[in-house]
Amino acid sequence: MAEKFDVVGTNERKVDGVALVTGKPVFAGDLDLPATLSVALLTSPHAHAVIKGIDTSGAEDLEGVAMVLTHANTPTTRYTTAGQGHPEPSPYDARMFDTKVRFVGDRVAAVAAESQAVAEEALGLIEVDYEVLPPVLSIDDALAPDAPVIHDEDDATGIWDAARNIAAAVDIAVGDVEAGFADSEVVIETTCETQYAQHAPVEPHVVQSWLDDHGRLVIYSSTQVPFHARRIVARVLDLPVNRVRVVKPRVGGGFGVKQEILLEEICGLVTLRTGRPASFTYSREQEFVSSRTRHPMRVRVKLGAGDDGVLKAIEMEALSNTGAYGTHSLTVLSNTGSKTLPLYNKAPHVRFVGKAVYTNMPVGGAYRGYGATQGYFPLETAMDRLADELGLDPIELRRRNHIREGEGSPIFEELGEGRKGVEQTVKSCALAECLTLGAERIDWEAKRAAGPGEGPKRRGVGLSIHMQGSGIPLIDMAAATIKMNEDGSFNLLIGATDIGTGSDTILGQIAAEVLGVPLDKIIVYSSDTDMTPFDVGAYASSTTYVSGTAVERAAVEVKEQILGVAATMLRTEAEGLEVGDERVTAPDGESVTLAAVCDRAMYGADQFQIGATASAVPEESPPPFLASFAEVEVDIETGLVTVLDYVAAVDCGTPINPKMAEGQMEGAVANGIGYALTEVMEFTPTGRVRNPDLARYKIPGTVDMPPIRVILVDSFEPTGPMGAKSIAEIGINGPIPTIANAISNAVGVRLTETPFTPEKVWRALRDAGVS
């Protein structure tokens, strides 16, 4: 099983930690360049309208205004804002500024001015003549036969069926589900709905841009995807890629919303046209109104099982609201099935069908969990109901059905990210142990036996199980470069994108492990399209597994070069030499320091730079596995649900840095608890966000959060770097079904619509006769 490591598996401090706790100016908004122009954005007050005319003369005449950008003076290239691998599986349905606005908050114009105050004042001087069109504000309205067409432009590409407002569709089948249901002793069907929610990273989107010594455009961005940003900005602005450099400094959280190209090309165009630095920051309100959201979905799950609880058929039907643009519409929809259905691989008959529809609402995008979160709600609710129906303990029902080591699922091959997937056999799976350890930690048996109690506050425990993936097989790619310095240190140059996750640190740990040095001998530099090799970026739980593999390979190549030089110095063969403690040691005990090795390579004989670049493209996407448990208290007089305790037992293979792995789980669980209980974007009847601030879009805080107890369950993924899988997303899938199942255990009511806010819960309890 697990090997012994020196640096991997230890709780190293973050390599950027001291800079962060001492408040160094390391974020995108912290840079002050001389004579920087401030950019402000005018957005649409209408959900659906055509811009008949736009008069910018008043704004242009205001003192201090450098320029106004509108559809009339900007490139018309259609593209997707989704920072995905090329060619992107999202439709090219957006323009920098369009003649039609498709949601309240859509772009109308941008102003660049000498100060933010002037830029904002100028926005008020732009006169726009709108022809207001009937808006489409729900999935059902969008699919109605006579619905207004949201994307009626003739130059969009990649839309599934624009005339019917369908951005994307998926339909796959294994076996024959109808036959499976006919053959089942028990059939359970449930439909669950999830809400509009926002990532709300504490740092909003920030971009600054300037021209370098060669007149090239430099974009300093709080992005998760610097290389995709470079490619998309170059394409939209009609520049060769070599004229654009994207640099990502420290980023204040992303969670998917910074996997979008939202500010870069506007800021860049201002710099190109004026020759001056430009700065563009979304306000918190714009984060809510104009950036990206989680796709709200309505998902129906039907399960068929034998008397023993073993599943015979699973059908999942998903309707996703992608909002005004189709960014991530197909891939999020696909993942609703592909990251959930393989978990229950005993069922021979499986069907997944779904549509992602356009509406005149805020735009769905990538959000931690990426569709799986929406799929697990009905799937794990239905499993819990099946357990009730059969009188089985919910843990036992999961045990009879979940995937195990050495097994596959036809879904892996049938359903990938917007296209066919990749056949895969699970090579590491400690889910059975996750269930055991998690149940022990939450005291499952005693608490289930104790029952909800009397009085107004009822208690219950619930669970759900999950899988996700580690990167996108045969699509994602990462590269790493390592070069050695004569003091025995190494520069690790990676395209991988640390957005607060700690990836710079864990990738440094992997390099340090291979090279036999402490972490402080690895100088990590990442996410600079001029200076670091390519990486797709921080999404799809790819970094540990994919970028980690690239780092491990580069380190192994460098180590071989070191051993070659050391063999000459020690007058022996490279075979049998070992690195460790910053030395190379021969079997006879003779050794040289790494510093001496590099010194010789640089200044001695047969001089060369010890260094290597290596790439990784995953052939599979080994899933991390999770068993989530929660104890809740339901106040039946008020409907308030309080999570008293939360246990997440997770198998992520080798945790490269256990505390950081725990931190990924804790943060994901907390975000999921917010999504389950309180977070919801509310809308007026005309499609305007009613609560675009943190005071009203309510996220649980320190007092609300239960103890989140993470158990890292031992496993070793043979295809991963040092046995690791990824862990970034999976935790967020747990809270909704886990809490819903715990509520059912407490009060016997099944909630099927998130968030479980007090009034909604109180009404459900009252309707059920509980309160």
């Binding site: 007089e637 008020t638 309180t678 509310e682 005071a695 309510k698 805080g701 009034e759």
Partner: protein, 280 residues
Amino acid sequence: MSVHTIEQHVRPASIEEAFAALGPGSRPLGGGTDLMLHAPPEVTTLIDLGGLSLDAVEDTDGGYRVGAMVTLTEMMEHPGLAGHFGGLLPEMLVHVGSPLLRNIATIGGHLARGRLSDVVPALLVAEATIRWFDGSYHEAPLGEFLAEEVHRTRMLITEIGIPPAPAGAAGAFVKFSRVFYDIAILNAACALATDGGAITWARVAVGETPRVGALVPAAAEALTGNPPTGATFEAAAAAAREAIEAGDDGRASAEYRSQLIGVGVRRALEAAAGRLGGAG
């Protein structure tokens, strides 16, 4: 956030001077947290009340005089106020904003809003009075001040008066919200005193109905003369539900609020009753 429409501030040397400076284009500046967020565009002048010696809490024979510029944190940390009615005020104030806000926001500025308040119900059951200046000084019970919407008139709040509590009295505060740091869906406060197994004195107030907090005399009447038991509290809760016409807003429906009124009043009474022994 900076307010670019502000052009100047004045620092009056007296209340009279401050009042004279009040006009349509000016606002008194307490802690400033509300003005920073919600200053109307026509406001160009801030009247800084910082130099008027309104920042002290004075003890007055078991009662208190709290200057309008006293911060919510200072109220929470004042040993006398903290123990008043068995800890009613800190129990309530911990729900108001966050420490970061309470370190800035003043009691005068808070009450001048006349809305969205956890403070109001608690001060109402403590029988607080409010003193203001509009050319001359006035003092009235807080409930009267709010009912007559004095806060909308041209005036300056200078002081809050909190009288001594009846012997052995205790209070409690209950707030319903989605999360801890949140504006209330509904709040309730009460204060009780007993003698010989019967409630001799009671005050109940409910707020965010969604109107700002107000005393509920019918609930107090249902309590007075009866033993502090569950049945009495249920009767008071029912009286409060009967007396208050709850309304709808984005936070909750009237129907749900009506439910919370009963639950909130009953739970506040139970909590206060639990403190009676210790306070007596």
